[in-house]
């Protein structure tokens, strides 16, 4: 079993200029350790639609790699997105799913089928070009660099241990910089960072 904190630290060590989109249980663990201007916390948004958002980013900016850290509960809300991503086939998108089997921020209630679902199998069946699944830290450490370089769309299922995390609210004094802004401010900031502001 993986620990989420170890996984995000490993990803941070491998991150260069990628756009990183987080949601649900990864917003705070990533936001505490990463202060990169290409981070985007999909928080106070629409649960289930973060991978859609990342797909749009990847299609708009084929010159950049886009990583999205999705949750299993979020993915289950929009499983069709696996097919949409596979059909759109962005070579620069890496879709991670942190599978802990529960809705963590509401108190760890199990997701339907929690703990027994094969997300990598679903991604493969949807037509995803490159699929990985990890539940062992040593395997992840060995294979992650290659997985991150693979031509996408890439899907990486991560079986992570159950933890506890309370619900977060955006507020001006939040320790995670992204959560000090409104979602609109964050979206417009990232658009400016990526050079998308029209004159």
């Amino acid at each position: 079993m993986l620990r989420r904190e170890d996984v995000v630290r490993r990803m941070l060590a491998l991150r260069t200029e990628e756009v990183v989109v987080t949601t649900q249980g990864t917003v705070v663990p990533w936001g505490i350790i990463s202060k990169h201007p290409r981070d985007f916390a999909s928080h106070d948004s629409a649960m289930g639609h973060t991978a859609d958002f990342a797909l749009g980013l990847a299609l708009a900016r084929p010159d950049l790699r886009v990583w999205v850290f999705n949750g299993d509960g979020s993915l289950l809300m929009s499983l069709g997105t696996l097919v949409t991503i596979a059909a759109a086939a962005p070579p620069n998108l890496v879709h991670f799913v942190f599978d802990n089997g529960v809705y963590e921020v509401t108190g760890n209630q199990p997701v339907p089928g929690g703990g027994s679902l094969d997300y990598a199998g679903m991604a493969r069946a949807a037509g995803t070009r490159c699929v990985f699944a990890f539940d062992d830290p040593a395997d992840l450490a060995e294979a992650l660099p290659e997985a991150l370089r693979a031509e996408g769309p890439v899907f990486i299922a991560l079986r992570v241990a159950l933890e506890e995390q309370s619900a977060q609210s955006r507020r001006p004094d939040h320790p995670v910089p992204s959560l000090r802004m409104t979602l609109a401010e964050e979206a417009h900031r990232l658009r400016g960072e990526l050079g998308g502001v029209r004159s």
């Binding site: 629409a46 299609l59 069709g80 964050e186 990232l190 658009r191 998308g196």
Partner: protein, 164 residues
């Protein structure tokens, strides 16, 4: 009757880069025309809510998307619209196939609830809209792009008759 090519011509004048959505009988010909258009990329989705997430990501990435969907799908996609395009303040034009509009006429018989709930829902969700009933209404589409950009909000064009 509005021709799909007339809509694509507006899209091109407005710099649209991507059309994101799910086909219906009203916009069927527009989807077919976009499939063969090398200047605007068509991104089809499995459920309409996805379209707003994809479109928001496209806009943040510097592209200029439009969303194409039917009123049934629009009604399903409420939280996705709220949590992405509205909460992110994305200037976004959406074309909504107005299925069942004729059923709203007095004496039309069975009412299509997809039509009944569309305009009240648009108003409740704060999405300004116009109706694109014929070629004479095409300037409304042009104006929707300008208004959505000015207000940094989504706007809708309702299409009650099948496009040619």
């Amino acid at each position: 009757m509005v021709r799909s090519q007339q809509i694509i011509d507006v899209f091109q004048r407005q710099g649209v880069t991507h059309a994101v959505g799910l086909t219906d009988n009203i916009q069927r010909t527009l989807f077919l025309a976009l499939e063969g258009d090398p200047r605007i990329r068509l991104v089809t989705v499995c459920r309409e809510g996805e379209a707003f997430g994809v479109a928001a990501g496209l806009w943040v990435g510097g592209a200029r998307p439009v969303v194409l969907l039917q009123n049934t799908g629009f009604l399903e996609a409420g939280d996705a619209l709220r949590g992405t395009a509205i909460n992110m303040a994305v200037p976004l034009v959406m074309l909504i196939g107005f299925r069942g509009r004729r059923s709203l006429a007095p004496g039309a018989g069975r009412v299509d609830t997809a039509a009944t709930f569309l305009e009240p829902t648009l108003r409740a969700w704060g999405v300004a809209y116009d109706t694109l009933a014929g070629p004479e209404d095409l300037p409304l589409l042009e104006r929707a792009f300008a208004a959505s950009e000015r207000e940094s909000r989504p706007r809708a064009l309702l299409i009650p008759e099948a496009l040619e």
